[in-house]
């Protein structure tokens, strides 16, 4: 467990989350390489299934980063994202995945240092939670079977 390096997917909105991550880079601020950023037009674009798929495909943690409240480029996308993340947490709990592995954050474009700090803290938190056991089970079951893509019959 000591050498466990979590994989963390961060869905960052174009106008704030992504810009802040960019700013953190320009400021030469360190944040862990465990963070894989996916740039989306608005945090409200983060679909429930995409977040669940991230966990299915091996993510140990997922963050959704949107603008500060009242600053959304699309007026209310970040409020929608916040509500949706609450729903996603319920769905994860149902699927026996610790909802703490998912987090929503409001972060302005100018808050590069704060985003870097959040990424550092979130990575440590996920490191503390350990690997996503659902994904380990999934990998194990897939290892025992031939590639499902090859096996699947293609219907006309």
């Amino acid at each position: 467990m000591a050498d466990f390096e979590p994989t963390i997917v961060a869905f960052c909105c174009n106008y704030c989350g992504f810009a802040a991550a960019d700013l953190a880079g320009s400021m030469r601020l360190d944040y862990p390489p465990n963070i894989r950023i996916i740039r989306i037009p608005c945090s409200g674009r983060a679909e429930i299934q995409e977040v669940l798929d991230a966990f299915l495909k091996g993510a140990d943690g997922v963050a959704v980063v949107g603008c500060l409240e009242g600053d959304c480029h699309f007026i209310s996308g970040n409020f929608k994202a916040k509500r949706r993340v609450t729903r996603m947490k319920e769905l994860l709990a149902e699927a026996k995945v610790d909802p703490e592995r998912l987090e929503f954050r409001n972060n302005a474009a100018s808050m590069g240092p704060q985003l870097a700090q959040f990424f550092n803290e979130f990575t440590e938190k996920i490191r503390g939670l350990g690997p996503n056991t659902a994904t380990i089970k999934l990998k194990k079951s897939q290892a025992n079977e031939p590639d499902p893509n090859e096996k699947k019959e293609v219907h006309p």
Binding site: Q49, D53, E94, A95, K96, A134, L138, S141
Partner: protein, 217 residues
């Protein structure tokens, strides 16, 4: 439309426990509109099930409807070789599936709740009980059967308080709504008409109902 809600996950888990290969079949009809069993919800439930049970092989498909034979037949190739079908349609869809796929257990993933409308996004309310004898022309377009908690037909009961029903202050009194609307329409004379005891045979009391249209056969 017909409203439904997804069953609690432990109930779905228990139903699926004996099976290893399932077809998860959604419906593009009513349950898509009330966000309970459309293509999106099929994807979400499938992802949740895979997170819980990696050994479960899931084939996803969402036909136009599950309440018409041609659409039920259209998913035959997805149902072939499965241990069971988990249907995300309303109760009617689940039953037509079960009739068509004799050899397969067809399991309901949803609880079908009522016929209603979308009040606003994410807020669905009951409006019709399919009693088989519509009286809306007399009641200002507000149904006393569905909107009055007691389904009274000749005005409110004593439990109507400040426009609310005694069962819950969040429920408006159906008859208050009717009287307000009739007043607005200047049709209060309709309120004077005495409604006779209804023939509940057109409703569920007459047993399962059937409509026959010779011209369409």
């Amino acid at each position: 439309m017909i409203m439904a809600e997804r069953k609690p996950m432990p109930a779905i888990e228990e139903m699926l426990a004996p099976y290893k290969k399932i077809a998860l079949i959604g419906c593009k009809g009513c349950v898509t509109v009330c966000n309970a069993g459309g293509k999106k919800e099929v994807g979400i439930l499938s992802a949740q099930l895979k997170l819980m049970r990696p050994d479960l092989e899931i084939t996803e498909v969402t036909p136009e409807r599950q309440c018409d034979p041609e659409y039920v037949e259209s998913v035959e190739r997805y149902a072939e070789g499965q241990d069971a079908i988990l249907s995300m349609a309303c109760g009617a869809g689940v039953q037509l599936m079960a009739e068509h796929y004799h050899g397969l257990p067809v399991l309901p993933a949803l609880d079908t709740t009522f016929i209603g409308v979308t009040e606003k996004a994410g807020e669905y309310v009951e409006r019709c009980q399919a009693c088989g004898s519509c009286k809306l022309h007399l009641t200002g377009g507000i149904c006393p059967i569905a909107r009055c908690s007691k389904s009274l037909l000749n005005g409110p009961c004593g439990g109507s308080v400040d426009g609310h029903c005694e069962i819950d202050p969040g429920v408006p009194c159906g008859w208050q709504l009717i009287v307000d609307r009739l007043t607005e329409l200047n049709q209060l004379d309709n309120y004077e008409k005495i409604a006779e005891a209804p023939n509940w045979a057109t409703s569920r009391d007459g047993g399962p109902r059937r409509i026959t249209r010779e011209d369409l056969k």
